[in-house]
Structures are given as C-alpha cells and as structure tokens.
C-alpha cells in the first residue's frame, strides 16, 4: 500500500495568490494512499525541504508529490531532498502549480480545482513509480570546442590547463575571430591584437590542444561523456607539414583583387592567402573559388614558387572522427550588412559602412594602416556620423532585441576618430545609451565630454548622397523633435549583431535548441547560462546572444569549468529515464516478438538484437534490447511497439495511463 506525501508550496504568494493551497492539501489528504499532506510557504527553502525529509522518515512515505513550480526548475532539488531522507529520488514527482496554473489563471475556484487535478494526476502516477538507480557511463575526457574566436580560445585554454585534451575547430583559416579584427577595445583602449595574439599562439603551442582550422563539424552522435563527432577538414590545398609559412606564394599569387574577409571587404587579398599577418596557423590556404588554376585549369604560380613543394592542388576534404566527452560551442555572431537598410543607402554608398568595417579602418594593421580614410576616395572624413541601433531594437526589422555592444563601440569609434582626425566633427545618433558595465559609463562620458563627440538623441530616417556629401536626415528628440540634417563625409552604422548564417543547421546537428533569432538557447536564462538543454554541450560567447569581450571570456571560462567538472570523474551518472524491453520467465522470455521495427524508429540506434539461447547455446528467440548507454529516453519506440514490450522508466505505460485516468476520474 502506498504511503504518499503531498507537499503543497505557496511559493511566497506566487501560487497562493490564486490557488487555495490549504484546500489543495486538504483535498489531497483525503485520497486513497495519501498519508501526509501539508501546505507551506516555501517548499524549496531549507525548512520546506526539512518538512519533506521529516515526513519521509517519520511517516515512512513511499512516494512524494511536491506541488510547486515547474519540475524543469526544481525537480533535482526535491529529488535530492528525498534521497537525503532515504527515499529513492525517483519516487518523487512534481505537480506544476505555478507556471501551469497559478501564474496563468485568475484567482478562483476553477483554478484551485485545476491545482487539485494536477496534484491528483501526480499522486496516482507516483503510486506506479519504481525505485530507479542512476546509470553510470564512462567519460571520454576530451573536449571539442567549436569556434576559435576569443570565447573558443579562452575555453580551450582553460580546459587544456586543467590537464584535459581539447580539440578546437575553426571554420576560417585562422583562429582569432572577430576580436582579431578589432582596433582597440573598450573601455581601456588597449590594442585588441596585442592582447589576443599571445593567446592564439598559446593555443597553437599547447600540448593538450589539437587545432583544426578551416574545419567544420560534419555530424555528431552520442551523448554526454560519449560523443562521436565527425569533423570535415576542408582542403587547404597545401601540405601543412611541409609549408613553412614563408609567404612566397601569397606574394607571387597573380590574383590579388579578392575582397579580404578579414578587412571586411575594405582591403584585398590573393587567392592563396593568409587572412592576416598574425594568423594562427600562419600558413596559407587556396581559395578555390577565386584561384585561376581551379577556374581555368592553369597558373600554378604558387606551386612553382613554393620552396618546399607544399602545394597540393588535388587535396580533398578530410573527415576526421573523434571521440569526445563534452562540447563547447563558441561560434560567435555576425553583423547585418548595410544592404539590409535601403533607407541608409542600401549598400550603394561606399562611405556608409558597418562598425566592423570602421574597426578595420581604425586598426593599425588595417587597409589604411590605422588612418581614418573613407572607402570611396580615400579622403579623411571631416564629418562623420555614427548610427546606433541600425536594425537593433526595431521590431519592423525583425530584430526587437538590443545588440548590446554597439553603444560602447560607437563611443570608442567616435573617440578614436576624434583622436585620429583632429578638428574632425563626429555625431552619434542614439536611442538610449546603454553603458552598463565596469567603467563603461565613464568611457562614454569621456567621449562626450573630453573628446567632444556630439550625441544626438534621435533616429535617422534617411541617408542620401548629394553633391558628394551624405545627407543624414534625422530628428533630435531632445530638441522637441527638431529635424536634423548633417552633411557627412562618412557614416558608420552600428548594424545589429545577429546569429551566424547556418546557426540553425548547426543547432540541429548538435540537437540543441535556439531562440527565435537563431541564437543558441541556454538551459536557464539565469542559473544555467552556459549550459544547453543537451547534457554535455555548453555555450560560450556571442553564439548565445550578443556579448562583449569580457562577457564572452567569462562565459568561456564558465563553460570550461563545467567541462572540467564533468571530466573530474571517470564515470558519469545519468538519469535512468531510459527504455527497457521486458524480460519474463521461460518459456516466454519476453513478450517481444522480434519484429525489430523499433530499431528503425529509434533516433539513437540504441536498440540491438539479443539472442536468447538455451543451455546448449541454441537460439530460442531473438528479441530487442535497449543499450542503456545510448538510449536517451525519448520513448519513440515505446509508443511504437505493438506488443507493448518496451517501456520507458519514469514514463511507463502504467504511469501515463494512470495519469489520464486520474485526470478525468474522481479518486
């Protein structure tokens, strides 16, 4: 006979404001099998948990139902409490009275009735719960870091420094990411390259880090502690072992006018190229789309000039298979290009550029060697306008969120401009200045007060070119919405930070979720910012949302700690929510008839064939068997099996059936 304890939480007033918690507890107390029922202000608090623990020991409870918030929130908390009191943690269930009831319905009888129903469903379910034991699986202590920007670099180094192996893959020919493109960094104005390059080199030289540049994730299978990844190493068309990075080839390559990605199109590169001088690895790749040899079948200048014979025109993409235990995704973000904004010149005015392009202009290693010169004619702009929120915070553009970093980098840009172009005039159109962060507000004030940047609170409706000037037509909302027109020489758009193209596809490969803007979704917005919903996969940096450098680095270190924590044990404990094929006494052995249709229904290839043999070793019967290491507990096979021979622990036939019965009948 079950002895169930029901614990109804008020959640302060979050539940009790609309649900009569005392009535819920009282009603539950009258049900068959419920021996203890109580309501309390905060079940998750220490005294609340003690209440549960005491009831378990004193009343000898065989099952616990905590009626409080979403199990997605506190199930681990309460299960742990039960375990501490000696009750198998899987004998604890949660009724979601907060998110699914009190917060979404008005106060009233119907809401309390619903709360009672929700509790009853779980009380009846828990009667059919079984004591389960967590599953132990071995951990492969190698991490895969996807993306070699600052977040990926930081995560790789942090993990590697704890003594674990790291495989870092980067889709571009060099690691460094967006940070390597930046001129100076706010709020200290130290040179981005100067602080980043040492880390890049450290990555390359670290004995625990294997670096694959020009490589992308092809596919992933497995589960936490036991992933198998296929990595596509795109062909670089060179033999990296032979290449010394002497740059003979890049100097002699006749195709010289390809817009440089690193310089955001403001500079040119060759077809065989190293993206930037400090690249790691500092070895070239051939851009086959633009290489004369690949287009026309002749040239091979690079091959001729290469002193070590390292050019390999027939090199093919290579697929590397690796076994890893954890993954850090640090794929970063991208910015909207000006052609997204017809009103701002639709990408047709050369002198309307993005913030990232301005970084290149301001960078000492950039196409202008750090001088601010406008792309169209190379003149130093006398008047420059910066537009904040180009796309961001604009529902009409489909980007209602704040891109977060723009306020700061615009202040930096304006400041750099003022420092470099003496007597120049700079204007910033903004909605609000969001400068939350250590020394951030001070930095913006410096731009305004010390460097004389003109901040205009208002939006720009239109930019058009007239008589060689860019007419920036906007409004100053602090001057009673006075229309403002500035005849500028150059305009910098702080275009919205958005998810990478292909982010969706990557998420699907990794089986992680993403938000409506295709940024990867964290497991909890506050308490699990670096975890994903898929165990063993973590997030770092701007792939999760727009992030600045300090945040990206902090996230990366956070993710690294999560990985290191995971790797600190040889075995991993997994929830035993897995499918099981029934076994019975001979001569039946199992009700499974061995049709093995479940094998194709399983998304994880977790179902195998097991041959049941007699003492003479003859096969009596072939039945399905679930590999507990591979099974992730989706239950697709369970609903599919005709003979109901597969069941899933925690969501068994009896449990789910009982939930339906309990929901619609009186008990």
């Amino acid at each position: 006979m079950s002895k169930i304890g029901v614990f109804v939480c008020h959640c302060g007033e979050n539940i009790s404001a609309t649900v009569d918690c005392a009535k819920v507890a009282e009603t539950a107390g009258n049900w068959d099998g419920v021996t203890f029922s109580v309501d309390y202000k905060y079940m998750c608090s220490d005294p609340g948990q003690s209440l549960i623990k005491n009831a378990i020991t004193e009343k000898g409870l065989t099952g616990v139902v905590v009626a409080s918030c979403s199990p997605r929130m506190h199930e681990p908390t309460f299960r742990k409490a039960c375990a501490e009191a000696g009750l198998n943690p899987f004998m604890c269930e949660m009724a979601n009275l907060r998110e699914h009831c009190s917060w979404v319905h008005e106060k009233g009888e119907a809401t309390t009735e619903k709360a009672i129903d929700l509790v009853r469903i779980l009380v009846e379910k828990v009667k059919y719960n079984h004591e389960l034991t967590s599953i132990k699986v071995p951990v492969t202590k190698t991490a895969l870091v996807i993306g070699g920007g600052i977040a990926g670099i930081q995560a790789s180094l942090d993990i590697a420094n704890t003594g674990h192996k790291v495989i870092l893959i980067e889709k571009d020919p060099s690691i460094g990411g967006h940070m390597s493109q930046l001129s100076e960094t706010f709020p200290t104005l130290d040179c981005s390259q100067c602080i980043l390059t040492p880390r890049m080199v450290e990555v390359a030289q670290h004995p625990n880090i294997t670096l694959y540049t020009y490589a992308e994730l092809e596919s992933l299978e497995g589960f936490i502690g036991n992933f198998k990844a296929k990595i596509r190493k795109k062909s670089k068309s060179i033999d990296e072992k032979l290449c010394t990075g002497c740059a003979q080839c890049t100097t002699k390559c006749p195709v010289k006018k390809i817009p440089s990605e690193f310089n955001e199109g403001l500079g040119k590169r060759t077809a065989i190229y190293v993206p930037f001088p400090q690249a790691v690895p500092n070895k070239p790749v051939i851009d086959r789309k633009n290489c004369t040899y690949y287009i026309k079948g002749k040239c091979k200048v690079c091959e001729i000039v290469c002193p070590t014979g390292a050019i390999r025109f027939d090199q093919e993409d290579q697929i590397v298979e690796v076994e890893i235990g954890a993954i850090v995704i640090a794929t970063g973000f991208t910015v909207k290009q000006p052609d997204f904004f017809p009103e701002y010149g639709y990408g047709k005015h050369a002198d309307v550029i993005t913030g990232l392009q301005f970084e290149r202009l301001a960078s000492a290693s950039g196409p202008t060697l750090g001088e601010i010169r406008r792309p169209s004619d190379g003149k130093v702009p006398e008047k420059i306008v910066f537009l904040a929120c180009a796309g961001s915070r604009d529902p009409a553009k489909g980007i209602p969120y704040c891109s977060k970093i723009c306020c700061m980098y615009i202040a930096k840009h304006a400041m750099l401009y003022q420092h470099k172009v003496h007597g120049g005039k700079s204007y910033v159109f903004y909605m609000d200045i969001r400068a939350g962060g250590k020394q951030y507000e001070e930095f913006v004030r410096r731009a305004i007060e010390d460097d004389g940047v003109n901040y205009i609170r208002g939006r720009v409706s239109k930019i058009y070119e007239k008589n060689g000037k860019l007419i920036v037509s906007g409004v100053d909302t602090l001057l009673n919405a006075m229309p403002v027109e500035i005849e500028a020489d150059m305009v910098v758009l702080a275009t919205a930070g958005v998810a990478n193209e292909g982010a969706e596809e990557l998420a699907q490969k990794l089986h992680i979720s993403y938000d409506p803007y295709k940024f990867f979704a964290e497991a909890h917005p506050k308490l699990k910012p670096v975890e994903t919903n898929t165990a063993g996969i973590f997030l770092a940096g701007a792939c999760q949302a727009p992030r600045d450098i300090p945040e990206s680095v902090a996230m990366a270190s956070g993710a690294a700690v999560k990985v290191a924590g995971l790797f600190s044990k040889d075995e991993l404990t997994r929830e035993p929510i897995i499918a099981v094929v029934n076994r019975q006494a001979p001569p039946v052995y199992s009700s499974c008839v061995g049709c093995f249709l479940c094998v194709s229904a399983c998304p994880y290839q977790a179902i195998e064939k097991e041959e049941i043999k007699n003492r003479n070793g003859e096969v009596i019967k072939s039945v399905a068997k679930v590999n507990p290491g591979l099974c992730q507990g989706c239950g697709t096979c369970v609903a599919f099996c005709r003979t109901k021979s597969i069941d899933i622990q925690g969501y068994t036939h009896e449990q789910m059936y009982t939930e339906v019965m309990a929901l619609l009948n009186e008990y």
Partner: protein, 266 residues
C-alpha cells in the same frame, strides 16, 4: 494442380522441406489448409479460385515452425505476406521455400525470398472496385454518420479474434488486447471495446497490411473490418506515396521523412 502435387512430392521425398503447406478440399464447398508431410498426402493438394485463405498465417505458428523447413503454395497475397514477415525477421530463406502461384494460376518456384520480392513488386496493391465504392461512400458521409455506421457495423462483434488469428501480420505472442497492466482495450465486447479493438488493429496494421482480406473472410459475422485497413492503405498512398512489402525496405510507420506533409498541425 498437377505441377504442384509433383513438386510437393519431390520436395518431401528429397527431404528438401519437411512440410508443404497448400490447400485441400474441405467440408461443404470449402477449401482449407493442408499440411503435406508425406508424399501420399500430396495427392490431396488442390488449387482453384476458392483457395483464398492466407496460408502465411501458418508460417509463424509454433506447431508448424517446429516441423522444420516449409514450402508454401503461395498466391500473390500470400507472397506479399511472406515478404512482409521476412522484413520483420519472422521468416528467412533458411526456413521457407515459396511455391508461387501467379495470378494466372501458374506455378512458379522461387530460389529465394529476393526473387519472391521481385515478383511481388510487379504488382501494385490495389483495392477492388466494390470496396473502393464503399470507401467513397463512407468518405461522403458526415462525421456523425460515419460514427453511427461503425457503431452499427461493429455491434455484432463478440471479439472471437478470428480476424487476428487469420491475419498473417498478427503473429504477436502477446497482443495489446491481452496486455492488462494497464488494460488498454476494454475486454468486454461492448461498443467501446469493439471500436477500440478495431482501431488499434488497424493502426498496428498500418504500413504492414497487404490487403488480403483474410480478416474479413475469417469473421464469422462478416463485419467489413477490412475497410479500416483499406482506408489506411489508401492514406499511406496519399500521404507517403504508399508502400510495398520489401525485404530491406523502410517500414512506413517506423520511419519518417523530414518533409512529411500535413495540414492540421498548428
């Protein structure tokens, strides 16, 4: 079927197979299954248009399997059933020899199941005109009319499970109706118990039924339960391009396509 008798005798005498399953004259004007285990019995083998029982139902029967390798005089529906059973690992080349009977009543012996599959694939599974008309008629009814139609049609059902017994695909050793923890299908043959039994049966046969009508022919009350599986067959065709039993095929309901089309999920 002189050829069949001759071949059966050879197979038995040479011990190539232990039993040949075919048809014999039954009582009344019926024909019935015959299990030939010695060459004299082979003389009783017949084949004519009355031989419609799906003999594949015997292939998974314990008592028959225990005899050893079998040969089956198989009409097109029987051959289809055999391929489907093979795809579900219930029969292999090692335990069956197919003596095919073509739609033109010609005997054709197959070396292996792959050949049977090839033969079977020449013919589309098609629903006969009379049943097609009935399906169309049902389609045109309103939802409450269809509901009443089935409540009335299924009312006589007393759950003797002859439909299940006669169906070659219903080889499960424990049918869902025999599962009682929980009791998915109400055991009593009430309106609800009958409806849910037949719905469940139709779902379990979706993508597997080869439309042999064995269930309908077996029903002592002649309830048109084959309409359910026929409907599923047509829907499988409409939504997923249909199916043919195949040795290494993708089973309709245990697989999916990312671009499966529907118009009702919001």
């Amino acid at each position: 079927m002189v050829d069949l008798i001759k071949r059966a005798k050879e197979l038995i005498e040479s011990s190539s197979v232990k039993v040949v399953i075919g048809y014999e004259q039954g009582t009344g004007n019926k024909t019935r299954a015959l299990f030939v285990e010695n060459s004299e019995d082979a003389d009783k083998l017949i084949f004519d248009s009355r031989c419609i029982q799906n003999l594949a139902a015997y292939i998974t029967k314990k008592e028959i399997k225990e005899k050893g390798k079998m040969a089956v005089a198989a009409t097109l529906p029987v051959m289809r059933s055999i391929i489907q059973l093979a795809s579900e690992f219930q029969v292999t080349d090692a335990n069956i020899l197919v003596l095919g009977i073509t739609p033109e009543s010609k005997l054709i012996e197959f070396g292996n199941l792959a050949e049977v599959e090839k033969f079977v694939h020449q013919y589309e599974i098609e629903i006969d005109v009379r049943n097609k008309e009935m399906l169309d008629k049902l389609e045109k009814m309103t939802q409450p009319e269809r509901w009443q139609f089935w409540i009335d049609e299924l009312a006589p059902c007393f759950k003797c499970y002859a439909c299940r017994a006669a169906c070659p695909m219903c080889y499960c050793s424990r049918c869902t109706v025999d599962f009682n923890q929980p009791q998915w299908i109400p055991v009593p043959s009430t309106e609800l118990g009958n409806l849910e039994w037949h719905i469940m049966r139709a779902i379990h046969l979706t993508g597997r039924c080869i439309d042999c009508d064995a269930c309908y022919n077996a029903c002592p009350l002649s309830i048109p339960i084959n309409l359910l599986t026929k409907r599923m067959l047509l829907d499988a065709k409409e939504h997923f391009g249909g199916y043919q039993p195949a040795l290494k095929g993708e089973h309709l309901m245990s697989t999916y396509k990312p671009d499966d089309k529907e118009n009702f999920i919001q």
